[in-house]
């Protein structure tokens, strides 16, 4: 019996500490583990006994990259529990904040974590020396996302301005019009952005049928909704989500894993584009069409397409941010936020958003005083873990034996040609843009 073990101790250019272990016996893949080595902070336990006012400040610290999503999702959960309705400006500002986060996160991933793989550099800073224009485009888009988050959330990371029912201070007219000007500059970059990512040879690693889940909305391409759609045609309500994704503890990882009908599923940019792509308009819709025609569709199970979906979402985020800014500037910016009287009610609240990496779910149970008695946080990366392992297993089965022994992948694999299996596995992991802090919280 010939045993082989491929071990990647530390994944790089992902957020957090994670590794990959694969065991092959006589050329057959026995186990594939995405090892999540990150330390646990026990957020769900820390939340117990805390007041509803502190929830967002606490959970935003789960992750530096997705902090705005966590903050907004927490407030949505609180508002759901207490039956608080927020005004339309607050709704728009929250979406704007999430769009800023999408821009920052996607630009970071596309330009800093992913592009170096395609261009053959160990890091974006190395790449920037030879390709300053590409680097600057990435930096500009990333900075724009941060500017939006600073202006709306009060800080690029862990936004303190997101409060229950309102914003602490609504950004002033001047701030918003400056942002609008920057967004216009960003929109002017979109053709170059789409050209850049359309020019990459995206290797088709896999074409196995994949189950995608995303929040669905019938009024445009949105990041907040209380309905979840699966690509098998089923639609679920927020309250059904924890049952649907069925999160459970696994032995090899501090992160839990999820299964949909006992099978792995994917969430994230690619899932959103597959589920809601029809709602895209303008340049974002055109970009999607271009990527689809180049790669034969987003929903064909190739995880590498996730990056292209992120590029599409970057274009969409710029368009949507403009729309929100124009609306807020027209209908009143900077005025005092509405006073909301918050009366805690005993019960349960659920918050759902599309974080950059997919569906983010918060559920809190409150007592009469608004103290949290039970908390549940299901993060997108945790949902994706089982699917990442599935993809790795499939790739390892297909290419593992030959490439691990030094035979390289075919040139048709684009940037993956001449690379060994462990590199390919890392590329798969990075394609999901995993956020390990989120997955272990």
């Amino acid at each position: 019996m010939l045993r082989k073990r491929i071990e990647i101790k530390h994944l790089t250019r992902v957020e957090g500490h994670g590794g990959i272990t694969i065991e092959l016996v006589d050329g057959t893949v026995k186990t594939v583990h995405m090892d999540i080595l990150e330390g646990t902070r026990f957020y769900e336990a820390l939340l117990k006994g805390k007041g509803f006012l502190e929830a967002a400040a606490i959970v935003s610290r789960v992750c530096g990259i997705c902090s705005a999503s966590h903050a907004v999702t927490a407030q949505l959960a609180v508002e759901d529990a207490f039956g608080i309705r927020v005004d339309s400006r607050t709704v728009r500002l929250r979406e704007l904040l999430l769009l800023g986060e999408i821009m920052e996160s996607h630009a970071l991933h596309l330009f800093f974590l992913l592009l170096p793989d395609y261009m053959g550099y160990p890091s974006a800073l190395d790449m920037a020396r030879d390709h300053p224009i590409k680097a600057k485009m990435g930096l500009f888009l990333k900075q724009l996302g941060n500017r939006i988050q600073e202006a709306v959330g009060g800080r690029a990371i862990h936004p303190p301005n997101v409060m229950v029912g309102r914003f602490g201070k609504v950004p002033g007219r001047q701030v918003l019009s400056d942002l609008l000007a920057c967004v216009e500059d960003g929109l002017a970059l979109t053709p170059a952005l789409v050209d850049l990512f359309a020019s990459l040879e995206v290797p088709v690693l896999l074409e196995e049928a994949t189950q995608y889940l995303a929040l669905s909305s019938r009024d445009g391409y949105r990041f907040v909704s209380r309905e979840i759609a699966a690509t098998d045609g089923k639609v679920f309500q927020a309250s059904e989500f924890s049952r649907v994704c069925n999160e459970r503890v696994v032995a090899h990882s501090h992160a839990k894993q999820s299964l949909y009908s006992d099978r792995p599923f994917a969430v994230g940019a690619q899932s959103r584009v597959v589920v809601n792509g029809g709602e895209l308009t303008g340049a974002a819709a055109e970009a999607l069409e271009r990527f689809v025609s180049a790669q034969g569709g987003m929903g064909r199970g190739n995880p590498i397409s996730n990056s292209m979906a992120q590029a599409v979402e970057l274009v969409h985020a710029l368009q949507a941010a403009k729309e929100h800014l124009v609306d807020i500037l027209t209908n009143g910016a900077g005025d005092a936020p509405p006073e909301t009287v918050i009366e805690p009610v005993k019960g349960t609240g659920i918050g759902l958003t599309e974080a950059p990496r997919g569906i983010l779910y918060h559920r809190y149970d409150f007592d009469d005083n608004g103290i949290i008695t039970e908390a549940d946080i299901i993060t997108p990366t945790a949902q994706n873990l089982a699917n990442i392992e599935r993809d790795m297993r499939l790739v390892a089965e297909r290419f593992g034996e030959i490439s691990a022994d030094g035979v390289v992948l075919s040139p048709a694999m684009g940037c993956l040609a001449n690379r060994d299996l462990s590199f390919v596995l890392q590329v798969i992991a990075r394609a999901y843009d995993p956020c390990i802090s989120c997955s272990v919280h």
Partner: protein, 255 residues
């Protein structure tokens, strides 16, 4: 001149402080020009071993692996910087030190989980010598750049240790405690953020960690005197203002 070699490491945390380095979009290329960044796993696949002049260590020690890594980093580094509030004070994960970590573990992982060693989050200084503390959740970009600039000159920066109130008053904000009778941790908390939250009309959560002589009892009395519920005060102060090891003092001064 030899380039300054900095190592960037993350223990258990949210990566927000490392992300703050990448968020210096305007300065990033200049930083890359002047500073060699080693072990910046989040941004680079270039794993560089060897000694570093300065190690920026983010996150707190939450598991035995963190501790082993921290000790290795200390060995490799001439200076070690506690980078962010988790590293400096234990951060959010260090609150509620009285609760046994196994209770927390079982709450999150339930009876089915494979038992792993659960320890409570501790700041770096509980285990190794820390040469400089750059607090913040996340660290302030300006202070980060100041630290890097100062390190290029061979020194650590001169960072204010006055409370958030100093900056809040200088910005002529309305005092949240006086005007709204809300819990605000400004007087307990290190400034340097420009009173970011009170300037947004949001009370200070204490995310930059406590000033050297944080005085919980007075804060508690003051807020209780304004009719704020005792538990509310305790909870708010627990978030950040009472880092690992100080929580007990808070409890004591509270009763």
């Amino acid at each position: 001149m030899d380039q300054l070699v900095i190592g960037i490491f993350g223990l258990t945390g949210c990566a927000g402080d490392q992300l703050t380095i990448l968020n210096c979009e305007d300065e990033l290329l200049l930083i890359a020009e002047k500073v060699t960044m080693k072990s910046f796993n989040m941004a680079s696949s270039r794993e560089l071993a060897g000694r570093v002049e300065v190690a920026l260590v983010e996150g707190s020690v939450c598991q035995p692996e963190d501790l082993a890594m921290l000790r290795e980093i200390r060995e490799r580094s001439r200076h070690l910087v506690a980078f962010g509030t988790c590293a400096a004070f234990g951060g959010m994960a260090a609150m509620d030190q009285r609760v046994h970590p196994e209770v927390l573990r079982d709450t999150v992982y339930g009876p089915d989980g494979e038992p792993f060693e659960a320890i409570r989050a501790r700041p770096l200084s509980s285990f190794v010598k820390v040469d400089f503390v750059l607090p913040g959740c996340p660290v302030e970009k300006g202070q980060l750049l100041e630290t890097l600039s100062c390190l290029l000159k061979g020194s650590f920066p001169d960072i204010a240790c006055t409370p958030v109130c100093a900056e809040c008053r200088s910005r002529e904000n309305l005092c949240i405690v006086l005007e709204r009778d809300e819990v605000c941790c400004g007087a307990l908390t290190r400034g340097g953020c420009g009173a970011r939250c009170p300037s947004l009309d949001v009370s200070c959560a204490g995310c930059r960690g406590p000033v050297e002589d944080a005085y919980y009892a007075v804060n508690a009395d003051l807020l209780k005197g304004r009719g704020i519920d005792r538990e509310k005060i305790r909870k708010k102060m627990m978030l950040f203002s009472a880092p690992a090891g100080m929580g007990e003092r808070l409890e004591r001064e509270f009763d």
